[in-house]
């Protein structure tokens, strides 16, 4: 990897400054947010923050493969749904133990990612986008026709997961900090992956898959592992979402949700990981405030997205960093 060294060092100063300062700022704000309860009703603030962080986990996971692997998945909401349904279906059978539900959620996501990824990764570009969309729709329709578990209407979860019988998700503040910890864990895990040899192969394949193959790397395997990891983290997000909402429904995995995840990644700034957190926060906050203001908020939000694409290249992160 010595050939890559000069490039790395040239990019290092900017990346290093933004790479420490911005995530530090983000997590600082998130950790202090519950203290801001003086400004807004506390439970509302905590619920909104929890929701933002849950989707931020999924967005970071998506950025891992979109931003560093050029694998644009248009079906990532399926993994959120799988994680959420794992909680819901187990709860419907009276199993509320976290140590059962969480591994089930993760295993379901990983298995689905390996099975669909094995097929999807044979295709490229637009075809990859469309085939992941198709697999997402498959899971969506499967959930819609799960009559014993609510079908289209979804499934109410009677009680949140417990750890050895301890109701750790019950207190909204505790839930908030658990989700924050999960987000931090996801972020630093993805960052470590990106910086590792594995991540370099992934980025190398993004630039030029043929070159990496010529260098002797089995690109397909690296991409499949990255896809599975990304899917598992979205499964984690789904697990948390089900616990926060006490409810799961097929709407969690509609293609619009997958589209929203892509937009969160793009809005914040692709290929930075922390940009995905900013994107998720901005997307959900704008949606929240506009929808309080008018029922027809999407009439404003839609053109806003178009304007960001046309004039804000590189997303919100791009507006603040200097690329010369």
């Amino acid at each position: 990897m010595s050939a890559a060294a000069p490039l790395e060092t040239r990019a290092a100063p900017i990346a290093a400054r933004a790479g420490i300062a911005v995530p530090g700022l983000i997590f600082g704000i998130l950790a202090a947010l519950p203290a801001g309860a003086l400004l807004a009703p506390e439970n509302y603030l905590l619920a909104l923050g929890t929701r933002i962080m849950t989707f931020a986990i999924a967005a970071v996971a998506l950025d891992l493969i979109v931003g560093y692997g050029a694998l644009v998945s248009f079906g990532h909401a399926a993994f959120i749904g799988l994680g959420a349904y794992a909680v819901g279906i187990l709860a419907a059978h009276g199993i509320g133990e976290l140590l059962v539900a969480l591994p089930t959620a993760l295993a379901a996501s990983v298995l689905f990612a390996l099975a669909t990824g094995a097929v999807s990764l044979r295709t490229r570009g637009v075809y990859f986008i469309m085939i992941t969309l198709a697999f997402g729709q498959m899971i969506f329709f499967t959930a819609s026709s799960l009559a014993p578990y609510g079908g289209d209407d979804g499934l109410t979860i009677a009680s949140r997961n417990t750890l050895f019988g301890l109701p750790i998700f019950k207190d909204p503040r505790a839930l908030y900090y658990i989700v924050l910890a999960a987000l931090a864990g996801t972020f630093f895990l993805c960052r470590a992956v990106v910086g590792s040899r594995f991540g370099r192969v992934l980025r190398g394949a993004k630039e030029n898959a043929t070159r990496m193959a010529t260098l002797g790397f089995q690109v397909y395997r690296f991409q499949l592992v990255a896809y599975a990891l990304s899917g598992a983290l979205c499964g984690l997000a789904g697990f948390l979402l089900a616990n926060a909402n006490d409810f799961v429904s097929p709407a969690y995995m509609s293609w619009q949700r997958s589209g929203e995840l892509i937009i969160m990644v793009l809005l914040g700034g692709i290929g930075t990981l922390y940009g995905a957190i900013i994107g998720a926060a901005v997307y959900l906050l704008i949606a929240e405030f506009l929808s309080q203001w008018t029922e027809y908020w999407q009439v404003i939000f839609g053109p806003f997205l178009v304007l960001v694409v046309l004039f804000g290249r590189g997303g919100l992160v791009g507006l603040f960093s200097h690329h010369g």
Partner: protein, 306 residues
């Protein structure tokens, strides 16, 4: 049973030609401009809504059809000028985000203008009857009209794309747009033409289906996903592929939904069959797509040069 099968085959063909009308424009825009247009479905929706409005004003279905087509064309050209023209040179992710924004805007805009409640359009009186099929089953004439008009459009497109000068430019553009531009063709005008024409076809599909379906916000989103499945199976940029795949998807989806439970009952009890059947039926076309892409990663009829 056999006449029921025949009716369902007709229904499948009707869904197929409808999908073809939408997919034809989508695959052209995809093939020529390399643009992922998630907002193609809104043209279909607008076609239906505009037809309802113009029918209310004129009282004539034919006038409503013509006016709705003109209006969808005008809307598409305005959209092309304002938004899409800026997107051609961007990557697919930008396409997804911008056209997603357009969907949000138009879906809500439709609610704002026409309200959220479903509207309906009457079938033209002359064509509102039914014909008797074999076995004494009645079949609505209007559905046959849809099938007929869809096939007519398919033939027209075949001639237009395959045997005219404009069609030659479109095919050349799908193969190598920069080269066509370098040869002195006004590529912007060609792009605008293709985009407008594709949108008008989707609008036409919307007008034709409005007497059968309820006209409601978001009606374009569900059909759009099916149209994407069609163009991916058919091979992006290929009209012929879109035609074959559209009929295939229409038939597989319709027949799957009608007979999945019956077929499954041959293998399992009636109760599990009733649970598994509908799920399997709605998954069928996606399974088909996965199989096709596994065997032929660029679809059934990959356009040359891609």
């Amino acid at each position: 049973m056999s006449s029921l099968l025949f009716v369902q085959i007709l229904n499948g063909l009707q869904l197929g030609v409808l999908l073809f009308l939408i997919a034809a424009g989508l695959t052209l825009v995809f093939g020529v401009m390399d643009l992922i247009n998630l907002a193609h479905g809104v043209q279909y929706m607008l076609g239906a809504y505009l037809a309802v409005t113009f029918y209310g004003l004129t009282g004539s279905f034919l006038a409503a059809l013509v006016l709705a087509l003109a209006a969808t064309l005008a809307f598409a050209l305005a959209l092309e000028l304002l938004v899409f023209r800026q997107l051609y040179a961007r990557d697919h992710l930008d396409h997804v985000m911008a056209t997603f924004g357009v969907i949000l805007f138009v879906d809500q805009g439709v609610k704002l203008v026409w309200g959220a409640a479903p509207l309906s359009l009457p079938v033209p009186e002359l064509l509102s009857g039914s014909v008797t099929l074999m076995g004494g089953l009645l079949y609505p004439v209007w559905r046959l009209v849809i099938i007929g008009s869809g096939l007519a459009v398919a033939v027209g497109l075949y001639v237009l794309v395959g045997h005219t000068r404009v069609g030659m430019l479109v095919r050349a553009g799908a193969t190598n747009a920069p080269l066509v531009s370098a040869l002195g063709v006004n590529i912007n005008r060609l792009f605008m033409l293709v985009f407008g024409f594709g949108a008008m076809l989707a609008g036409f599909a919307g007008v034709m289906i409005a007497p059968i379906l309820s006209v409601e916000p978001g009606m374009g989103d569900a059909i759009l996903i099916l149209a994407f499945v069609v163009i991916v199976i058919g091979g992006i940029g290929s009209i012929r592929g879109a035609f074959v795949a559209a009929l295939m998807i229409g038939l597989v989806d319709t027949l799957g939904r009608s007979f999945a439970v019956d077929v499954l009952r041959l293998f399992m009890g009636p109760s599990p069959a009733r649970t598994v059947g509908p799920a399997l039926a709605s998954m069928l076309i996606y399974v088909l797509m996965a199989i096709v892409l596994t065997l032929r990663p660029a679809g059934l009829f990959p356009a040359a040069g891609r």
